[in-house]
C-alpha cells in the first residue's frame, strides 16, 4: 500500500538533535513526535509542519516522502 513516510529521524540525525529537544522546540509532546516518527500519524497540521521545518531548518519536502505501492 502506498503511503507518506515522515523522514523525521533522518533529519534529526542530520541536525544531531534528540527527540526531547525537538519536542521542546516545536511545542509537541514526545509521544506525539514518536507517532509522527514511526509513521503512525493519519494527518499532519500545517502549523506542526511549519514548526518542524523551522526547528530543523529544512523544507517540507525534506521531511515527507511518498512511498509507492510495490
Amino acid at each position: 500500500m502506498a503511503y507518506i513516510r515522515v523522514k523525521l529521524d533522518e533529519m534529526m540525525a542530520r541536525r544531531k538533535m534528540r527527540l526531547n529537544e525537538l519536542a521542546e522546540r516545536v511545542g509537541l509532546t514526545e509521544a506525539n513526535l514518536s507517532i509522527l516518527k514511526n509513521d503512525k500519524a493519519k494527518a499532519i497540521r500545517f502549523s506542526t509542519l511549519e514548526a518542524l521545518c523551522a526547528a530543523l531548518d529544512c523544507q517540507p519536502a525534506d521531511l515527507l516522502e511518498f512511498i509507492k505501492d510495490k
Binding site: 509537541l28 506525539n32 513526535l33 507517532i35 509522527l36 503512525k40 500519524a41 493519519k42 494527518a43 499532519i44 497540521r45 506542526t48
Partner: protein, 180 residues
C-alpha cells in the same frame, strides 16, 4: 472510585442475568404446564384471540413445536441480552467508547431488529400450532402487524442506524487522535 456508569452497569448486569432464566422458565411453563391459553399472564395474546381452543388437548409434539416457534424469538432476545451483559461488563472495566463496545452495540441492535421482525411471524406460527388440533374451521392463521410491531421495528431500526453513526464518530475520533 467507581463512577455512576460502573455502578449502574453492575446493577443492570445482575438484573439482566436474572432475566434470562426467568424468561426461559416462563417459556417452558407456558408451553408445558399451562392448561388453557387464557389462564396465565404469559398468554395475553392468545386470550385476546378468544377462540374455543384449549391446550389441555394439545399433543406433546405440538407443545414442542410451540416451544420451538416461541424459542426462536426467545433465542434472539437472549442473545441480545447476552451481548448487553458483555457490554455492561466492558462498561464496568471503564471501557465506554471503544471499537469493541461499538461492535457490541451494533450486533445487539441487529439481533433486536431481527427479533422485532420475527415477532409477528412467531405469533402467527404460535397461533397456528395452538389451534392446529381444533376441528376444521376453528384453526387460526392470522398475521398481525400493528402499531406495537411497527414501533419495535422503528425503534430497533433507529438503534442500528445510531450504532453506524457511533462507528463513524469513533473513526473520526481516532483520526483526530492521530492528527499531529
Amino acid at each position: 472510585m467507581k463512577n455512576n456508569i460502573q455502578v449502574y452497569s453492575r446493577r443492570l448486569e445482575w438484573l439482566s442475568m436474572l432475566l434470562i432464566p426467568a424468561a426461559l422458565g416462563s417459556l417452558i411453563f407456558k408451553w408445558f404446564f399451562l392448561k388453557a391459553p387464557g389462564d396465565g399472564i404469559f398468554c395475553s395474546y392468545y386470550a385476546r384471540l378468544s377462540y374455543d381452543f384449549a391446550m389441555v388437548d394439545m399433543p406433546l409434539l405440538f407443545r414442542f413445536l410451540g416451544l420451538l416457534v416461541d424459542g426462536i424469538g426467545f433465542g434472539l432476545l437472549c442473545l441480545g441480552i447476552v451481548l448487553f451483559i458483555k457490554l455492561l461488563h466492558r462498561f464496568q472495566q471503564g471501557e465506554i467508547f471503544s471499537l469493541s463496545t461499538i461492535s457490541l452495540f451494533q450486533r445487539m441492535g441487529k439481533l433486536l431488529l431481527c427479533w422485532a421482525l420475527y415477532a409477528p411471524i412467531g405469533k402467527t406460527l404460535a397461533g397456528l400450532v395452538v389451534t392446529f388440533n381444533n376441528p376444521p374451521g376453528h384453526r387460526i392463521l392470522s398475521l398481525t402487524f400493528g402499531t406495537d410491531e411497527l414501533t419495535n421495528i422503528f425503534i430497533f431500526g433507529f438503534f442500528v442506524m445510531l450504532t453506524s453513526l457511533m462507528q463513524k464518530a469513533y473513526q473520526l475520533k481516532s483520526d483526530q487522535d492521530l492528527t499531529i
